[in-house]
Symmetry: C2
Subunit: 277 residues, 2 copies
């Protein structure tokens, strides 16, 4: 039985709108909503070791979801993550590190779990750590995921917008995911349900952007800097929305550059998370 270094890639994920759905069982908890997975993501390498260390871009990080994945898989490893995405600003980096760790540990230690089982391990870890509700299942799928029912396979149900695009983004700062998704969420739930209905009625990228903009206002989550950037993109005829939950604006195409922002650029990632040979 092997014990060797193994690597997985997990796309980034920006959520445009969501509604948290808590159940007693973390595998059935999660969120409904929609977002975009990104070619910018997280590469996670695990190395067999006698102790446990987690780094992101060579800095030690405390990542509760990754610890829970290692607990469940029963392994001591060094988790070495590399990503161009900033942490805590709505790109699903913690979900990506949990899912990437699950895939890489299974691959490096002759694991005997299916993809759905590993998605379940990472999803439950993220829900129990309180750091995310829908990123893991979206990142496992790729594309432009619509989360119709919450939870990990086989409980959740996921669909997609049949489209692709380049995207741009700028980040103005962090929001505290755990305090928002565990706090008063009536306005979020109501706005999230309305946005999901609008998107399923017309599952296109412009609808996703428009429904997400309305969601961020109605849910009371939009910040002044984000609102200003979205307005600037709209004024130029572009489409942009706020990434949940972070102070990040995402534009379809080159809308942020057109509006004068210094934006990072990537594309919709066509694939879900995978081990890398």
């Amino acid at each position: 039985m092997g014990r060797s270094t193994a690597t997985a890639f997990v796309p980034g994920h920006v959520t445009g709108f969501f509604s948290p759905e808590w159940r007693d069982d973390p595998a059935r908890s999660g969120s409904v909503g929609a977002g975009i997975t990104l070619t910018d993501g997280v590469t996670v390498t695990v190395e067999p070791a006698g102790d446990r260390r987690i780094t992101l871009n060579e800095e030690p990080v405390d990542m509760a979801a990754v610890g829970r994945v290692l607990d469940e898989l029963g392994r001591q490893v060094h988790v070495i993550a590399e990503s161009p995405l900033p942490l805590g600003t709505g790109f699903g980096v913690s979900g990506a590190m949990a899912l990437g760790t699950a895939l890489a540990v299974n691959d490096g230690f002759d694991g005997d779990r299916t993809e759905n089982e590993l998605i379940g391990v990472a999803h439950r870890a993220e829900v129990e750590a309180g750091t995310g509700l829908g990123d893991v299942v979206a990142q496992a799928r790729g594309g432009i995921p619509i989360r119709i029912d919450p939870g990990a396979p086989p409980h959740g149900e996921i669909d997609g917008v049949p489209a692709t695009t380049t995207v741009e983004f700028v980040t103005f700062g962090e929001l505290d995911t755990a305090s928002i998704i565990r706090g008063e969420t009536d306005a979020i739930r109501s706005a999230g349900s309305a946005a999901l209905e609008a998107l399923l009625d017309r599952p296109t990228l412009p609808t996703l952007a428009e429904a997400s903009r309305r969601f961020s206002r109605e849910a009371g989550l939009i910040t002044p800097e984000v609102a200003e950037a979205i307005a600037a993109v709209s004024a130029g005829g572009g489409e942009a929305f706020m990434a949940m939950l972070g102070g990040t604006v995402v534009a379809l195409g080159d809308g942020l550059t057109e509006a004068g922002y210094d934006a990072a650029r990537c594309s919709v990632h066509p694939a879900g998370a995978t081990v890398v040979e």
Copy 2:
């Protein structure tokens, strides 16, 4: 509302083992089984037109599943497919053309269907045409799909082997899919169920190859040329299996080249079918 040329890419798919599952509802019919999606696939372009024409590599083809997709979406178009994969030899070309047509028509005609809805359109068309049972849902997912329950979303259930590899293949000739999946299938069903159980017990690429080899023998589908090529790969320490349903041998890594065959080479495709910008 737009009417414009649009393009989709659909990976090829080789099935290693399967068990046909017929229901009254074609959306719930399909197969359980497992296989590998391939970076070699089918690029499908649709052009608005006053009539209907279907070509594959510039040759007119009669493809009942594609016709049914166009009927359901209510469009007259030219369907222009390009592929390095041979037709009728187990690569899922007909499923790919049905799914690619559905995605491209939706994209080019301002369609308002989700990915799951378009997968359903293509899956039902394939089942009703009798040309395939599991390719469409596998090609919509990508990777190394394990079809646990038959049917299109939301009825089917699909999992995956968390791995990737390069693959090689050689083709010795065609088999008639429709006559086999509509014929006497008791031996196929029994062998397919055993293979699925073995793979879920240990979801790795070597198990997929081994379970598929046993399936092709127990189901009585293996042909002499295929058996000889698989034995040659095994003798060299490699892993190979027969693609269902066609006279095609698939090897993991470079097992066919090692055994002296002149094989085509590609890789596991990490993504499902997508529109192409």
